[in-house]
């Protein structure tokens, strides 16, 4: 038990370390520049305490349970014995051997994004601002689908060894075309959803998957090809969120 409390305590200290610079900036500007008292000071303080405790618990829980298992699974699924090819086989001839890997990439991308705290925050805010028009679950599912598609395509890229830049630039072009047709109100939110999706939960698991693949597939260098999955995961949600808005607009028009 003391061991549990000790690691929880060190997680708390680490979170305090992360929050301290932010708190210093907020307090500094509030006191020195704005020179105004914070309204509902006690409530805000309680909120910060909740955030601090919440993040510490959250991270400690992930470290303890989900990350070790998730990383182990990523390793096992990308191991040559599981994929069923020996060292000299080339990846392209065994593309179907990676079916489970793609499915794992898709499902882990989707499920970790649903649990991502910063996405929850943005979804709550979007609901408030849009006066309920944007449903938090609709937004979160759209983003999670985007991440899932992105990471699957990203693993495909690692397997085939094609240059990352081609995919990303093609993605940019698609995003710009969609921007032209998407409802004005959603554009800024859609662009934001690219950046918020990948943080605490998604990054460690996805990185483990990328490194596992790049290590085991012949001809891939983990230092070079292991990167890039996060880039996919921050590009595709923009498309799915705009797509979600376009679909809801289309349905609304058909109904009326």
């Amino acid at each position: 038990m003391s061991d549990l409390l000790l690691s929880l305590w060190s997680a708390l200290l680490a979170t305090i370390d992360d929050i301290l610079p932010i708190l210093a900036i907020l307090v500094g500007f509030q006191v020195i520049v704005l020179r105004r008292p914070i309204p509902n000071f006690k409530q805000v303080l309680l909120g910060f305490l909740f955030v601090l405790l919440g993040l510490a618990f959250f991270l400690e829980g992930l470290e303890r349970a989900l990350f070790p298992l998730g990383k182990l699974m990523a390793k096992q699924l990308t191991a040559p014995e599981f994929l069923g090819f020996s060292g000299e086989a080339t990846a392209s001839t065994h593309w179907h051997a990676f079916l489970w890997v793609y499915l794992f990439a898709f499902s882990i991308g989707f499920s970790t994004t649903v649990a991502e705290p910063s996405l929850i925050a943005v979804a709550i805010k979007a609901q408030q601002v849009s006066a309920g028009v944007i449903h938090p679950w609709g937004l979160r599912i759209a983003v999670a689908l985007g991440v899932a598609l992105g990471i699957s395509l990203g693993t495909f890229r690692i397997v085939t060894g094609t240059p990352l830049a081609y995919y990303i630039i093609a993605g940019y072009v698609l995003v710009l075309i969609q921007t032209w047709f998407a409802p004005r109100a959603i554009i800024a939110l859609a662009y934001d959803s690219g950046g918020v999706t990948t943080s605490t939960v998604t990054v460690p698991l996805v990185t483990a998957l990328g490194l596992g693949l790049a290590t085991h597939i012949p001809g891939r260098n983990p230092l070079l090809d292991g990167f890039g999955l996060i880039a996919f995961a921050s590009l595709f949600p923009m498309m799915t969120v705009m797509g979600y808005a376009q679909l809801s607009e289309y349905w609304a028009k058909r109904r009326s």
């Binding site: 909120g47 618990f57 499902s107 943080s199 070079l224 990167f227």
Partner: protein, 241 residues
Amino acid sequence: MLLQFFRALLDSLRDLAPILGVIAFFQLVVLGQPIPNLGELLWGVVLVVVGLSLFVQGLKLGLFPIGEGMAWDFAAKGSVLWLLLFAFALGFGTTVAEPALIAIADEAAEVAATGGMIPDHSQAREDYAEGLRYTVALSVGLAIVIGVLRILRGWPIQYLIILGYAGVVLLTPFAPEEIIGIAYDSGGVTTSTITVPLVTALGVGLASSIEGRNPMTDGFGLIAFASLTPIIFVMGYGILL
């Protein structure tokens, strides 16, 4: 209050259920192995659920109100310079100590050393990683400044984003091959769990406090800049060094 927290716990459990399902399915069905340390796993899940619920409550009580409150105060004060300084400090300060960034900067130094871009000893690697971290933090600070300026002036976001994409596309052929993957990834990892709610509240607060701005079309978008500029700056860093 207690009832509310209980509901929040249920919400968090629902948010977490997909991960548990995926892990159980792949471990039991695909890999055909038992789940190791079931007790440890359950204890971890309890911690995650409680943590997520506390975080969401804290968001509504603390982070959102303070972000929006400061946006209103800055608008009332009317000093653009101080607002931009605050925007820069927030972007720079929250990024420079970000653990995900520190991890990726160390990996980048490793790649650079292996690829022969820098001498392969620990001092050179440390310098490279630190330089990269400050570069990214600088770019995020700048991104928030540009984003805040956009809200003040009411510029449409897509033109600025197109400019950013053009920058990425133009720099890519000149950047060392080894750095491209890291540069593209660095855009996604810079915005942390505390930064996102704060920055979002700041943007929405600013857009609501300025007449003629719509919080929906103008208030969002700060995070988008913060995940685009690091790509450009990291490639620039790779080209210059």
